[in-house]
Amino acid sequence: MSFQNLFIPHQRNKEERQWLDEEIAEQQLRYQAIVKAMEELAPTRERWYAEFLDRIQTRGFNVDGDMRVKIQHEDIPLRPDRPHKVVY
């Protein structure tokens, strides 16, 4: 990512390099913990998906702001036959 803002080039010293390496290693652990937690949430999430797909047929789908459109039953997407993930 880039905010495309000013960056002033400079030399990263040994202490900064070591700090960065430690933080990267910790972040990897944090990421793995998140992936695991999100996999464990899968059954609950499936229920939330089902409730959402029901609500957009009855209460409506927010197309823009508060403008809602009721989605026809035949337009409801089917779950594809492939693994599903929410963390990339």
Binding site: F3, N5, Y31, F52, R55, V63, P80, V86
Partner: protein, 335 residues
Amino acid sequence: MARPHIEPFCDRDVPFKPMKLKGFGGGMHYKMLSLDTDTGACTMTVKLDGGYAQKPGFSWSELELLVIEGELQVGDKTVGKGHYFFVPAGHAMPAWRSAQGCLLLMMYNTGEPSLVESDTHHPDARTDRYHETDSYNDIPWALGNVTKPNVASGCLIKLLNFNDRSHALTFLYCMTPHFWQDNISYHDCAEESYHLWGDSWMMQFGTVPTGGYFWRPAYINHGAFASELGCIALGRTDSKLFNHFHYNPWSTVEENQARAAARTAERDPLLYRWIVQHGHNHPHGPEDFEDTMQRIGGSRKYRSVQPDKNKPFAHSHGQHGQHHHGDDKAHDHDH
């Protein structure tokens, strides 16, 4: 790689660590929220102990800072909860002190945290970009319609920073109690949020409480949305924000990307043709999954355009780039 997808995360779940990097002095503690593994750019919750003192200096990185709790003395000015600073790289800040201690959100946008002791700006610093504001008291809440299509009523914002090159945004946002919005969204930009107070819920990730955080790269589904108690949060995007709303919970990042390109081709056809197709008018553009995904009633693509079996050579172009033939005889198109 850049910053990975960190969502959801709550800083209340981890302890503060002492800041060891040179220049910051003792009494600074932090929790890392997300980190760019290449540049070292990062977002941290930072706690300054009572009596903390920091010498004047600048960072090699652009810095954004929000006071979450307590008071911070910057030079001869004391700022409190909700005060926001945008500090360009190389812009020297006066000395910091915190008599009673404080809690900060610090965002280093272009490099790892750094502090070079100096009472003058670096010659390359864009000092004209520096600004600060008491975001809680000096900016009114505005409707969240910074882009179309926009969020539902009950989501309000205060714009803190706008990058005129990338259109990156920094803003406070709040959701009223019992806010809800029934759509799934993704963006062409990365998005970041830190919950200063309150809760919000997203259908993929569950409820995020006070101290909740995410850094989400582009094209990742999030929503539907709700907030039971309401919330106030700091949000950021790293480039132009556009809400790609849809209702397919299972679409992938790749499908979302292709759909974004397909929609760009429809929304800005001349720009798309010039930049992506180098002036050629290809009839078969990127695929919009909303045209092809399997639905309870079958794919829309095949539902709306049916070949007439009684006319062996007849075919129709019902949608951009999609057509059906009544037989298998070869023939040429004039496009």
